[in-house]
Structure formats: C-alpha cells, structure tokens
Amino acid sequence: MDSVAGLLQDYLKNVIHEPEHAVLDLHKLPAEFQNFGKELIYFSECVMESSGLAKALAKGNLNVKLPPPGNEVAAPLKELHASLKHLTWQTQQIAKGDYQQRVDFMGEYSEAFNNMIERLNQRRLALLDEIHTLVQNKSLYETLAGQIEQWIIVTDTDTSERLFVSREMEAVLEEKDSGNVLCRWLQTQTEMMQGKDEIYMTELEMENSGIIRYYSVSIHPLNWNGRNALAFVLTDVSSERERLNKLQNMADLDPLTQLYNRRYGMEVLEDWIAQCKSFILSFVDIDNLKYVNDRLGHAEGDQYILCVSVIMREFSPNAVVCRIGGDEFMLLAENWNVDEARERLEVLRRALIGWNGSPGISYERSISYGVIPVGPLASGPVLQASELLSAADEKMYEYKRAYKLRQKKRAR
C-alpha cells in the first residue's frame, strides 16, 4: 500500500504539472486524513481553475469560462478579468468616438490611459476647429467663385497634373475642340514659364462654336504643398476687345467708304519710311466729282465716291487704300513697281469708264492718278511723308492735264 505522504505528494505533483491527471483517491487515505483530503482536493481545484484563467488571460482570451463563485484563490484574477473586460468596452467606445471614458483606480495605467484620451479629445477638438475653418473657407471660396468671372486652373509645373480647376474652366476643358486648344495652350505656357518666378501677363484667343473669345491671362508661379505650380487666371475680355476694335475702326476708317482715313494712311506711310521699305505711293483723284455734286446732287456724288472705293479695294486687295480727302485717295503697295501700279490703275480707270451708274443718270466716271516709287532703291533726295504725298499729287496733276489735253484734241 502506498504511503499517505506518497499519495499526497503524487497528487500535488499532478496538480502542478499534469492537472488533467490529478486524482486523489480518498478511499486510500486513512480516516483521520479524509477531511484533509477533501479540503486538499477543493484547494487544488481552486488552484487549477485559477491557473486556467491565468493562461487564458495571458493569451488575451477574455471570453473564458470564469471560476465559480466561492473560489477565493481566483478572485484577484477574476477582478483583473473584469478590469480587462471593462477596458475592452471602454476602448470600443473610444473607437466609436466617445472621449468621455475614464479609467479609475488602476494606478499608473489609469493616468496614462486618461492622458491619452484627453489628448485624443484635444486633437479631435482641434481637428473639428480646423474642419470648421476649412468648411468656412470652402463656403467663402464657393461664394467667391460663384461671384467672380475669372476662370482659374492650377497645374503642376513638372507633371502638368491639374491641381485645381474652377467649375467654368472644367466645362470648357470637357468640350472637345476648345478643350484640346486650351490643353495645348496651357502646355505651351507651362513650358515657357519653366524657371520663371514672376507673374506673367498674356492673352489667349479661343474659338468656341464659331465665336472667337479673347482672354486676358495672368500666370502666377506658386509653391503649393511642396510642389511647383502655376495658377492661370483667365479673364474674358471679348466685349472690351470688341469695343476697342470699334474705337480703333472709328479712329482709322473713313465713315463713308470704310477705307482707311488720312490719319491712318499717313501713319502707315511714316512707318514704312522709318522701316526703309520699298513700295509705291499713288495719289488718286476722282474726275468730275465737283460737276456731279453740283449738277446731280451730293447723294449721287457719294455714290460716285463709293463706286470708286469699291473698285479700288477689289483691284488692290494687298494694298493700303485710304481716302485722304473729298475726292482724293492714297494707295500704298509693297512688292509693286511703278509700271505695275500704273497698269493696275489704268485697268481700274477703264473699268470705271464702263461702269453703269444710277438708272437714268449718265456722266463720265474716271480717275486721274500719279505714282512714285519710295524706298532705298528710288532715285532722288530722301523726302518726308507729306513731301512724298505732294510729289505723287504733282504726278497726278500731270496725268490729269495730259488727259484733258487728249480729250480736247479728240473733241476737235
């Protein structure tokens, strides 16, 4: 028979090392050891339950079957289990955004945990502030973007990636033709702006659905989030351009004939002289205009002037044709020589003679002209614009006198 000490010793060894095999057969114990044996089994069960709970906690398993009430050995571990369950719940609430959770009476851990929550909450409040500011700024921006007429696009200088595109600009970029034109233009400007760090002003002309629009563009080099970028601000100046063109036309054109006026013609003449261009200058005079005005009225006289103007424009599409007086015209043409000019004007004169005027009204239409060459190749002294015009005028009078002489001989 095993000794009592041996039985108890084997049992305790199994309790510690192989709890699944720990069995104490009370029948083998003498009567005076029966109660002790029962208490030892109870104690051992308490230890084994505690050990099981400790192992589960060590693995982070909180959904474990807890030792039953009455196991006082396991009580501190059950308290730890309760604390861990509570911390798990609290952490879940924090993850859901509840920063009111606080841990009490867990020593340094409580302090660290509560500090963490406090800081998380402060950061959250700071972020909320920031979000609020951003929302305000976005709202302000959207209001501004809705109010201002400029289109804005911001592109990365190195990659051409679009970092920001205003709504109106987006719509243009989505259109097939204008979008392609705009993309190419942006690319060209981006390449041109490489290495520049000052605002650059330019213009853009773009056709959309057959209508040409003009844009004044300012290009702003930026550094945004560590990236080099260009902000293009486009202002539609089409109506201003149209008004400017009208004013320009009013300043440069003769109101009756829509040919250039004397001021513009003299400006071109002086410009060409300054540039040492070779060209011809022709002074053209309408014959018999005074007679038509006096006998047939100024309305018919104006018709006569218009008739000459139309024919002159058609015959000289590459020349600058100006009405410089009531019946006087100036014609400036590059790449023509004097003979070529005379030939053309003679053709023009003959065309006029054959022109049919208003029904029932008949009078002789014709022109007189004088042509002089101007430029480095022309012979004679260097003359000023007004002197050149006088010289051409003189030639015209020579032509007119010769013409009248021919007419008198023919009349005899």
Binding site: G70, E72, K78, E79, K85, H86, W89, D98, Q101, R102
Partner: protein, 177 residues
C-alpha cells in the same frame, strides 16, 4: 393638535425632498459618514427583516428598496437626456463621487439591451467575510431602477459574482424585459 406648519409628507413614504437639507442639518459633522455606519443599518435591518419574514422575503424587500432608490437617484441626480455613453460616463463619475462604488461597464448589447457591469469596492459588501452567497440585493434593485429610468424598459438585474462568495468585484448581469 395637528402641526399645520409641517414641511414634508410622512417619512414612511419616500420622497427625494424628504432626504432633507443635510448641509444645513449637519453644519459641523458634514454630509459624509463612515461606511461602517451604513453597513450597521443595512445588516441590522436585514437581520430584523429576515427573522420576521424569512431570508428570501427580506432580500426581496432590499431589492425593492434599491429599485426605488435607483429610480429616484436617476431622476434627481443624473441627466437622462444624454446619449448612452455619456450617461454611463456620468453614472460612473457620480458613483465614484458619492463613494458608492467603482462602476465598470463590461458589455452592452445595443440590440436587446443586455448589460454586464461590475462594481468594485462596493458599499454593501467589499471586505465582508466570505459566506458563499451573494448579498448585494439592494444593488440589484438600484441598478435596475437606474437603467429603467434611463431606457424606459424594465430591467431584471442579478448579481453573478460578489465579495461575499469570494470574489473581489461584484458583477451584475441585466436583461431588459
């Protein structure tokens, strides 16, 4: 002759107001007292009630008293209009302030309302000898009253671990009916 100047209703019928102005009434001794005194009243009352009505009936009286206290406490001390998490945080804070115990939430089922929570250093039982029984019947009622006042649902709360049966925290399980 009847005192027509009396302030409250009968003290045999509980009202929050009848708890009185403790500050005024205890100008020198103050509002606090040792836990010993609380337990002296608690366990002597339990003794008398048990002898008079039996243990089970006595425990049930304690549970009902706790329930009444929980309802009144929630109505008069807690904000019942806040979200659940805020409510729990406030309750936890208030129980600590009043030294009733250290409340810790273990789980709450959003769908069915089932709840498990623990109370450490419980006013009723922490430190009492182990007797292999649960004793916090008053707390069971107290917690169910608070939960009912907040959720509007009737709660059945039972203590599953208690200092008296060898544990170090009292664990309560509540189920909404």
């Amino acid at each position: 002759m009847e005192n027509t100047l009396k302030q409250g209703t009968s003290h045999n019928i509980f009202t929050w107001e009848n708890l009185g102005d403790i500050k005024k009434g205890r100008a020198y001794l103050g509002e606090d007292m040792p836990v010993l005194v609380y337990r002296l009243m608690q366990y002597t009352m339990l003794d008398v009630l048990s002898k008079e009505h039996g243990d089970e009936k006595a425990n049930e009286y304690f549970r009902q008293a706790g329930y009444l206290a929980g309802i009144e406490f929630a109505k008069n001390v807690l904000d019942l209009q806040v979200g659940f998490n805020t409510f729990v945080a406030n309750l936890q804070k208030k129980l600590k302030e009043l030294k009733i115990g250290i409340l810790r939430m273990e789980s709450f089922d959003d769908l069915n309302g089932d709840i498990i929570l623990t109370v450490g250093e419980d006013l009723d039982c922490s430190g009492i000898p182990t007797t292999d029984e649960t004793v916090c019947y008053y707390d069971e009622g107290f917690i169910s009253g608070i939960l009912e006042a907040y959720t509007g649902r009737v709660y059945s709360v039972r203590e599953i671990d208690c200092w008296a049966n060898g544990d170090r925290v009292c664990r309560f399980q509540g189920a909404a009916e």
